[in-house]
Symmetry: C2
Amino acid sequence: MTAARTTETRTIDFTRGVPATESFPLEQVAECAAAAIGGPGGAQVLQYGKSTGFAPLREWLAARQGVGADQVLLGNGSLQIIEFIGLALLEPGDTVFVESPTYDRTLTLLRRHGARIVGIPMTPDGPDLAALEGALARQTPKFFYTIPDFQNPSGATAALPVRRRLAELAERHGFWILEDAPYRPLRYRGAQLPALFDLAPERTLQLSSFTKQIGPGVRVGSIVGDAAALARLAKAAEDTYITPNLVGEATVYEFCRRGWLEPQLDRLRALYGPRLAATAAALRAHLPEAAWIEPDGGFFLSVTLPEGVTCAALRARAAEGAGPQRRLRLLPRPGRRRPLPAPALLRAHPGADRRGRRAAGPRRRARGEWSVERGAWSEGATLCPTRLRSLRALRSALRA
Amino acid sequence: MTAARTTETRTIDFTRGVPATESFPLEQVAECAAAAIGGPGGAQVLQYGKSTGFAPLREWLAARQGVGADQVLLGNGSLQIIEFIGLALLEPGDTVFVESPTYDRTLTLLRRHGARIVGIPMTPDGPDLAALEGALARQTPKFFYTIPDFQNPSGATAALPVRRRLAELAERHGFWILEDAPYRPLRYRGAQLPALFDLAPERTLQLSSFTKQIGPGVRVGSIVGDAAALARLAKAAEDTYITPNLVGEATVYEFCRRGWLEPQLDRLRALYGPRLAATAAALRAHLPEAAWIEPDGGFFLSVTLPEGVTCAALRARAAEGAGPQRRLRLLPRPGRRRPLPAPALLRAHPGADRRGRRAAGPRRRARGEWSVERGAWSEGATLCPTRLRSLRALRSALRA
């Protein structure tokens, strides 16, 4: 048994923030869906409802956060709630601060609404406070979009002093903190830090989602914060889809009501933690030239390569050997020959990145940054050979 | 049994296009949800997927319509697909023709995207062709939004010659027909007419939804049409929510795959048909001064009152007696004293209407139009006394 384990090799799927398929509690969710629809409240689940979402789940989340139910709004995933923020709270030309780099889909939506985007560089301890204060000296943003826990894509976690300072600055300057916290329950090591919503509840709108906790297909995201601001989001939501998907929301509520969420989160931490450790160990062994922030949890890890590496060289080396499709997704778009300046990260989806890089401040600053995104790691201490070949290809490209 | 029936009275809920709660096949949907999530394809249902929607349901709808799967896109309700049309196909200032009056939520979204809205008056046989051709002589719209079957709110059904002419005009002038067909399966009398998509498949994008067929809470709408146009909607959808709610879509697919949709539609027609007949009979008996188009199906019926009736008088009369909340929803906003010009309809939600009336062409033309919307009718031949009092109040207001 022990001998078998040492030679066992499993696959790591490096993906774009996609949960591991084997993490889904399928039977439990099926049971919850049937109970939610077939039970005494079923008619309410199949009917139109308020655009704020399924009331019992709002109340459950509100009780957990210690806020009123009018301080919780549900949507079809948290990304769409960012869209409602754009519709309800942003005017074209409004300034929004983001971390640089940050979640590209948020940038897409901010651009849709004509925001002026200003990037605040990331450090291993969260956004660079000196840069943030410098930017605040020039202008006050409508809000600062931040992912304090296990950031997408850098993997960084904002340190407690950084969080406290962010809260102070938001209160002093009067901007909203838009705290995106989908990975927050997935901490694999260290102690949980207070959320920005805990530190500045009057100035923070906190996004979360059941995508990484149960599964994306239920399509249930949430936002917690100021009731008046949420009422404006609810109007945008009503105009857009009348009612969110109550079947998904009622299913998630049933799952939470039964006390199944915490055991599920325990399982996820036990599943993902060793995979992250294996990835970090492989990077240390096979890419010693690279630098990265080792995440304390979540889904994302970014690798920083030294100066002088060309995309073309990376791609060519990585394409050597088998299983091209997935490995190529780790690499920049073909035909881009310019050297990556240091620090340079490898991003999984260059398409989005390329567009972003041309459009807005944070992307320009993030020029040459690429991230290796991960959705899952192999269990055990070794990486699958295919993945190792990818890392070796990167390593040999570094030395080319 | 027969004697009991003649004295039995049941309630009609006049609502804003809300399906009758008793119409929901709760046990069947619960069983389908459990099978979809707990079955062999469950992991696919809980995972991220393409923004075009759950592939088996797309394929099922495509086969039914005789088109390719790339000609079907699913969304979280059909209204949100209209939002994607606004994002992907409309530029600010583009002209859109609509029927006057029409579904107010579509107008809200068209305005969100800066459309110039031109209203084409409704007749009992659908949009007024002379008015449409006059408008086309002045400009070609990006599209014409039409609800040919049991229109919201007029209840009118476009006659076959009108449909044929619309198809010809779209092809000749090169505009899209945006055919909204959520009520189409709910025909209570007469023969089904060809859809505009059948007559002009190259120029028509046909919206539908399972909201009126199964229930709003599953949040599954669809659009059928040109694959290239749908690919643009899919990009807008991906940017907005990545993936639609696959739990709802897979549940609906399971319902369809099992052959349960047609029997469900039979039940709905048997449920709603007599209610519409009862409403029409009550209108004939108690509001002979009013005129209306008697719908052949669907959810909507509009009452046209003669000239000289004031909103205040209507409201005052209707408020006499019991059960105010629901009855008042049938009446215009308090404090509006100006007489309703003839023809005048009673709309359920004056808030949306008031905004609309100020903003755009079709609303200005529809000045003074109000509709009585219905979601359900009492079974049997009599209306509930509360409802009758509403109608009597209208009648006595007419005579005031």
